[in-house]
């Protein structure tokens, strides 16, 4: 048999498992002085499942805590069964878990668990996303007041805006501190702004108007356009002040990395 054929058989047999009766690779293996080839090949089969399960448990430790070992174990088993990893780096093997839960008839109905998974993945992504220095607020002061409406912003690559069931972020902190966890409310929503600051993921809840402003700003809309949009939504006279307040807060958070003027 060629190297390719052996590797194809080996892989198929690991993925199918010994109990499947599809372990054709056994015909190509030898017994050892102490034991038979099936016992030895089982080391690879078991290690495969254990390793993938460990990737998921490590990346979703808080979700596991929330769901309990039994339910989490069955979720992981289903996730592994969706197919082999196509990532070279184990870091990304489990990253489809929130999506898998949302699309699964069984897990979709537990909105708190789905959103907790999304939040936990968001923190992990913020943790090792691309580096970029934050811009100091002085840069804003240096812009001419007449130019403000034309200002556009760039944000730190770690920034994410997540729409979650109300209380999921609080649930996460309680679980990761080992404290009593209040249930999240699946019928109400919260929006969490998440980013990395001083090498650690941080987050805060944001209100509907800041959410809107931030989404538009991240889509490279100018400050003037954002104000117009907020005005349209709210019909509020203190609007300019509030929009300027968001902006100041974004600088204080350290999430703005660049400003320029739209043409």
């Amino acid at each position: 048999m060629t190297l390719r054929e052996i590797q194809e058989r080996f892989q198929t047999s690991v993925l199918a498992g010994l109990a499947s009766g599809q372990a054709a690779i056994l015909d190509s293996l030898r017994d050892s002085p102490r034991t038979d080839r099936a016992t030895l090949f089982a080391v690879y089969v078991d290690a495969y499942r254990l390793r993938l399960a460990e990737f998921v448990s490590t990346d979703f430790a808080v979700l596991r805590d929330y769901m309990g070992d039994e339910a989490f174990g069955s979720l992981v088993e289903q996730y592994i069964a969706t197919g082999p990893s196509h990532h070279r780096n184990a870091r990304w093997y489990a990253s489809r878990l929130p999506e898998f839960m949302r699309e699964s008839a069984q897990w979709r109905s537990d909105r708190a668990a789905c959103d907790l998974a999304l939040f936990e993945k968001g923190l992990a992504d913020a943790f090792d996303s691309v580096d970029a220095p934050a811009l100091a607020i002085d840069a804003l002061a240096a812009a001419e007041p007449d130019d403000w409406p034309r200002l556009v912003f760039e944000f730190h690559p770690s920034v994410a805006v997540l729409d979650l069931a109300k209380g999921v972020a609080r649930l996460y902190s309680a679980l990761s501190d080992g404290g009593e966890a209040e249930r999240a409310d699946p019928d109400d929503d919260e929006t969490i702004l998440l980013w990395r600051r001083d090498d650690e993921p941080v987050y805060r809840e944001i209100a509907a108007d800041e959410r809107l402003a931030l989404i538009e700003a991240r889509a490279a809309k100018s400050f003037g356009d954002i104000c117009t949009l907020l005005e349209f939504q709210n019909n509020d006279e203190t609007l300019l002040q509030r929009a300027a307040g968001f902006l100041a807060q974004w600088f204080a958070d350290g999430i703005v990395t660049k400003i320029s003027l739209s043409t």
């Binding site: 194809e8 993925l15 293996l29 002085p33 495969y48 070279r88 780096n89 090792d128």
Partner: protein, 281 residues
């Protein structure tokens, strides 16, 4: 051909030990990283690595080059690896005589190959191409294996020796892997070590493993066992002063216990070096 000069006695760099290393500057001569742990976009792991790199030599040890795979070489991976190397400036880069991926599906494990002429030609060619791409000699490590193939035409140590000579690569001998594979397949670990060409070995690995009645598993979750220490002594006698380190990847003990193991390794090396210098005179 010369091998890189010895870095001394090292440990695997694992995130759980960052505080011990950053706060106490322990007496470790060098650290080995798992390259993939730092093949990420940015953030704290890379910042800490650069900080530790400022004080210690680093070598890069990969687990997913899939050198023995029949899939095409993954140049996207190699490009990423090369750019990490440009940033970290490791003393060298290593990976395994194993495959992890076929048809693009990754089993995240170091899988065994038949020791055939066909596999040998294939691996030699791939190592040469990787070395050309990286612009440096690669260290290739013998993996622990649990399966042997009907088709094999030679022994592992014959394969490894010819591979190193023909690919003009260096070897990372894992003496624990030699012990584990020797137990599993019934070959003599010492003879393995004695048959490997001295001029090719640039680094040694030591680690602990799990033991069952019929086989052993390379788990890196235990202290180095007595038999593996004896093999290390044999290797030190044969290969002399080459870089050696302990891999620990699970069931992490307090950092001091790893430092004590490292001290034990130094003692064994001293004894072996005495024997070598006496027999030289």
């Amino acid at each position: 051909m010369s091998i890189p000069s010895s870095l001394g006695f090292g440990l695997g760099l694992r995130s759980i030990y960052y505080p011990d290393i950053l706060e106490h500057e322990p007496n470790v001569d060098w650290f080995e990283i798992i390259s993939e742990n730092y093949m990420i976009p940015g953030g704290r792991p890379l910042a800490i690595l650069e900080c530790i790199r400022a004080d210690y030599p680093i070598v890069m040890h990969g687990v997913s080059m899939s050198l023995a795979s029949s899939d095409p070489l993954d140049y996207a991976y190699l490009r990423e690896l090369k750019s990490l190397a440009e940033r970290i400036e490791p003393a060298w880069i290593s990976d395994h005589l194993a495959w992890t991926v076929v048809h693009g599906a990754n089993l995240h494990d170091l899988l065994p190959i038949p020791y055939t002429r066909e596999a040998l030609d294939h691996v030699v060619d791939r190592i040469r191409r990787v070395q050309d791409f990286l612009g440096r000699r690669l260290l290739v490590e013998n993996a622990s294996t649990y399966a042997t193939f009907q088709d094999s035409e030679m022994e592992e140590w014959e394969f490894v020796t010819e591979m190193a000579e023909r690919a003009d690569c260096l070897l990372l001998l894992d003496v624990n892997n030699i012990f584990v594979s020797g137990f599993n397949h019934g070959f003599d670990a010492e003879s393995f070590i004695e048959s490997i060409p001295i001029a090719r070995v640039a680094q040694l690995h030591l680690a602990g493993h799990g033991s069952y009645e019929t086989h052993k598993i390379d788990t890196h979750d235990q202290p180095v066992c007595e038999e593996v220490w004896r093999l290390y002594e044999r290797a030190r006698l044969r290969f002399g002063d080459i870089s050696a380190m302990i891999e620990r990847d699970d069931n992490y003990p307090p950092f001091d216990e790893l430092l004590a193991e490292l001290e034990h390794m130094r003692e064994i090396a001293r004894t072996a070096d005495d024997v070598r210098s006496r027999s030289a005179t």
